[in-house]
């Protein structure tokens, strides 16, 4: 029998698809049991305190050990309904796994993220088969709540509010739910359309409807919602990309790193996504790393990540930086872009070296040039204030009190659009959960229930 020959293009496409496969393959039952058995089952464990959603990690790991995987997943999801995404995308090395006491004993920390994925995936698969959502709704309250933005904060809010018996309508500007889970996380962290599967699972509780293509400030206003609903939650995230403000920024081949990641995530075939031969990524966060690694996986000859300060100041974790270097991304520090050159299309970028002078970051006047036909900006996101009206805003974020309430009574906010902690999915989930609890308490205060501080104490704006 003749072996079928692959065309060079077909082979290249297959190589690229393979390069985007799962970053960490899931643990099987045996490996999960062995890893779970390493856990010391600490009391009042540091890993719990390091998790923004305060998942009872020793308990869920103990439940893996006792072959109670359903219970394990419930322990996770009770604290964090997006435990599946967090298991894949959380920078665990600076959160739970970084706090694991085994680090102190010169042992490797427990692979909490991988174990969490094991439990949550198990239950999600089961629910996908039998359709029984693991959480039940409280009796209908008759209250209707509106959510703006179907990202992690908004959906976490919606799930918790639905669980508490309220009916929720989510207004989403885009055609798909998920926010950054769907559009902004690296493809190799979220394989097999996981973000959408997780949302299907989450919506399985019932009582949540999503209206797509509805943009705040264009299709509806805050005051519309305030009139129609008993409460409103804003989870709009940071929709605008930062600009460099340098000559040549308008040239073809210069784009926000998030747009590039979004194209990749939405592409049916990764190999069809346009990438440059020489890619320069500007920025020092996890988005910069995600964009740089994925450029390399798409076949770029050189990928250079340039950051204006030193390695230690990068918000990408050491683990992420190592991952980039392992993927042949060159990381250059202490330089900032000064201009982009090219005829209609970018072909190079100039950088000025920087250093700290008198405690401030300043250019030294010394420059260098990098050949670049794709320049990705990962210099941070900004909140787009469209439609927020008179809401109090500080440092580009919506101001909330310790109950997640904005300056307008009855309007709450959470996620990246407020200043609650790190701009992470896990923090957004916590904000949404706590805001739902807070709004629920405010709505039922008539029932003479004493108010309970809903905020985790991580400091509201």
């Amino acid at each position: 029998m003749r072996k079928k020959q692959l065309s060079p293009t077909h082979k290249r496409d297959m190589d690229i698809e393979r390069a985007f496969s799962d970053l960490h393959p899931p643990l099987d039952a045996g490996a999960a049991f062995i890893e779970a058995s390493r856990c010391l089952y600490c009391y009042d464990a540091p890993c719990i305190n390091a998790c923004p959603t305060a998942i009872d990690i020793p308990t869920f790991i103990h439940q893996i050990r006792t072959d109670n995987l359903d219970g394990s997943a419930r322990t996770i999801l009770d604290a964090n309904i997006m435990g599946g995404t967090c298991a894949r995308a959380c920078p665990t090395e600076i959160l739970c796994e970084g706090a694991c006491v085994l680090n102190k004993g010169d042992e490797k920390p427990i692979r909490i993220g991988a174990l969490q994925r094991r439990s949550v995936d198990h239950l999600m698969d089961k629910v996908a088969k039998n359709g029984t959502h693991p959480f039940q709704r409280a009796p209908q309250s008759g209250r209707r709540l509106a959510v703006i933005g179907a990202g992690p904060a908004g959906l976490s809010f919606a799930h918790r509010a639905a669980m508490l018996g309220h009916d929720v309508t989510v207004y989403e500007a885009r055609p798909k739910p998920g926010g950054l889970n769907e559009y902004g996380l690296a493809a190799y962290k979220m394989v097999d359309d996981f973000a959408q599967k997780e949302i299907d699972f989450l919506l399985g509780i019932g009582g949540i409807s999503i209206k797509y293509g509805k943009k705040l400030g264009e299709d509806f206003s805050l005051s519309d919602l305030k009139k129609q609903y008993d409460g409103v939650f804003i989870g709009i995230g940071l929709g605008g990309s930062g600009t460099l403000g340098i000559p040549g920024e308008d040239l073809d081949g210069v784009e926000p790193a998030l747009s590039f990641i979004e194209h990749l995530r939405q592409a049916k075939q990764k190999s069809h996504v346009k990438c440059g031969r020489h890619v320069v990524v500007i920025g020092g966060g996890n988005t910069a790393i995600d964009a740089a690694i994925q450029s390399k996986k798409l076949g770029a000859e050189t990928v250079t990540l340039v950051y204006r300060r030193g390695d230690d100041s990068m918000s990408a974790t050491a683990w992420e930086r190592d991952l980039a270097r392992l993927n042949d991304v060159q990381i250059r520090t202490w330089a900032r872009p000064s201009s982009i050159g090219g005829d209609q299309k970018a072909d190079h970028i100039m950088f000025e070296r920087t250093k700290i002078i008198d405690g401030r970051l300043q250019g030294t006047g010394e420059t260098y040039r990098l050949t670049a036909d794709l320049i990705l900006k990962a210099i941070g996101q900004k909140m787009l204030p469209l439609g927020l009206g008179d809401l109090q805003i500080k440092n580009g974020r919506i101001v909330v009190d310790d109950q997640y309430q904005t300056s307008m009574p009855g309007i709450y906010a959470g996620g990246d659009c407020i200043q609650s902690g790190d701009d992470l999915t896990v923090q957004a989930v916590q904000d949404g959960k706590l805001a739902a609890l807070a709004i629920d308490q405010a709505l039922t205060r008539n029932d003479a229930q004493p108010p309970v501080a809903a905020h985790s104490g991580k400091g509201g704006a």
């Binding site: 049991f33 062995i34 058995s37 010391l40 089952y41 600490c42 009391y43 009042d44 464990a45 540091p46 050990r65 006491v101 085994l102 102190k104 004993g105």
Partner: protein
């Protein structure tokens, strides 16, 4: 290098490690493999009167700990299911081919004098070094009036031992069942019957687990299960105590002991020898890992003896017997306090929660400047129970420190709070 040779009931063995009468010693093939690895002797799987028994499938159930390690096995296999002739011929061959290794013939029969005597003579004629009376098997055979059905009745223990002694001129080991209340009773009966040694313990009656899907005990045979014999690490503490009881009892202290029960390592063996055993028998550990485990048993025991300066096993045999006393002889003025080493502490909180929930609320949590936590022993509340030290996952992080209280040795019978003592004092 230490001399590991031992002599038990007059039988010389190159080392104290024998395989117990069980599946691993079922036939020549296994026994030869064991000898090749270095086992000093074997007790051949129990022989009965023909026709041979018939076994069922399956035969083993496992007891696992939290971390998935096997702590015990339970088995429902019966005695040898091969014809007596075949077994005896193989024993003869092994004796001839391995002259420096010990072979003991294990046997059982119904409570019939002639049956016991005829079987004992046939086995003795195969050239075995000694005969072990299986009076312990707690499953299957006992339902036919054998094994533990005999071992649980002191008169029968004495009788069967005597019957065998009367017809063979070989050392006789009476193997005892732990499924009784006081091990001294059957031990004394064996002694009265003329046993040269006792072997203990046989397996403990058990149901090792229940299959919650099938709603039947494991191992399952066509949907049903039965109680079996429990062995392995988990039974070692029971065996150690029973061996110690016999070793420190005036009537039985000269009875030689072939110790059995959860011996996995050289250390386990050394502990039994320190409590008076002359040799040990192993089964479960070999079943889990193969005969090769004897290599480390030999090397480890030898290294331990060299380290301690013991030249022969007799140099430390029974050394722990005098220190094994009744509770009433313990010093009540001895006091310990837990000491937690902050440097090596990894802040897991296990000591705190164990003490707080289940002991004496003597470990307090304090916040450290670096955001971590410190665990502090409250000496006034610490009773020195050791629990915190045992649950601590870090080696030597928690140590128990004796308190220099200057108080004299004081036992309960002399303690001022002992009501009996008070009554005596008042009556004087």
């Amino acid at each position: 290098m230490a001399d590991l040779s031992c002599r038990i009931a007059g039988i010389d063995s190159i080392n104290p490690f024998w395989l117990a009468s069980a599946p691993p010693t079922d036939k020549k093939y296994n026994v030869v493999r064991a000898f090749q690895k270095g086992w000093g002797g074997v007790v051949w799987k129990t022989l009965g009167v023909d026709p041979p028994v018939v076994n069922v499938t399956s035969r083993y159930g496992l007891h696992k700990d939290f971390k998935g390690a096997t702590i015990g096995i339970n088995n429902i296999e019966l005695i040898s299911d091969r014809p007596l002739d075949v077994n005896l011929r193989e024993i003869e061959e092994c004796r001839r081919e391995w002259p420096d290794r010990v072979i003991i013939g294990s046997m059982m029969a119904e409570m019939d004098e002639q049956a016991w005597k005829e079987l004992a003579i046939r086995i003795a004629n195969s050239g075995v070094h000694g005969i072990e009376l299986n009076l312990g098997c707690p499953h299957g055979m006992c339902e036919r009036g054998m094994g533990s059905a005999i071992g649980q009745v002191p008169e029968m223990v004495e009788k069967t031992t005597r019957w065998v002694r009367e017809v063979v001129d070989l050392p006789v080991f009476t193997k005892l069942t732990p499924n009784i209340t006081d091990i001294l009773v059957p031990a004394e009966a064996a002694l009265a019957g003329g046993a040269h040694a006792v072997s203990l313990i046989n397996t403990v009656n058990s149901i090792v687990s229940v299959d919650l899907d099938a709603m039947a005990p494991d191992p399952m045979i066509d949907g049903k299960g039965t109680h079996g014999g429990y062995c392995g690490s988990a039974v070692k503490p029971i065996a150690l105590n029973m061996v110690a009881e016999i070793a420190r009892n005036a009537a039985t202290r000269d009875l030689e002991i072939s110790a059995i029960g959860g011996i996995n390592t050289w250390r386990d063996a050394a502990e039994f020898i320190a409590l008076g055993a002359s040799g040990v028998q192993v089964c479960t550990a070999a079943m889990l890992y193969g005969f090769r485990i004897v290599e480390d048993m030999i090397a480890g025991l030898s290294a331990f003896m060299d380290e301690k300066g013991y030249k022969t096993l007799d140099d430390f045999r029974g050394r722990a017997v005098a220190n094994t006393v009744d509770w009433n002889e313990l010093n009540m003025n001895f006091d310990l306090k837990a000491r937690i080493d902050e440097e090596s502490c990894i802040e897991c909180g296990r000591c705190h929660i164990a003490c707080e929930d289940t002991s004496h609320q003597a470990i307090r949590i304090e916040a450290k400047d670096d955001g971590g936590r410190r665990f502090v022993v409250i000496d006034d509340d610490c009773v020195g129970c050791n629990l915190c030290m045992h649950v601590c996952p870090v080696d030597q992080c928690i140590e128990m420190e004796p308190v220099a209280n200057g108080l004299p040795h004081l036992t309960w019978p002399d303690h001022p709070k002992n009501p009996a003592h008070k009554a005596v004092a008042e009556s004087v």
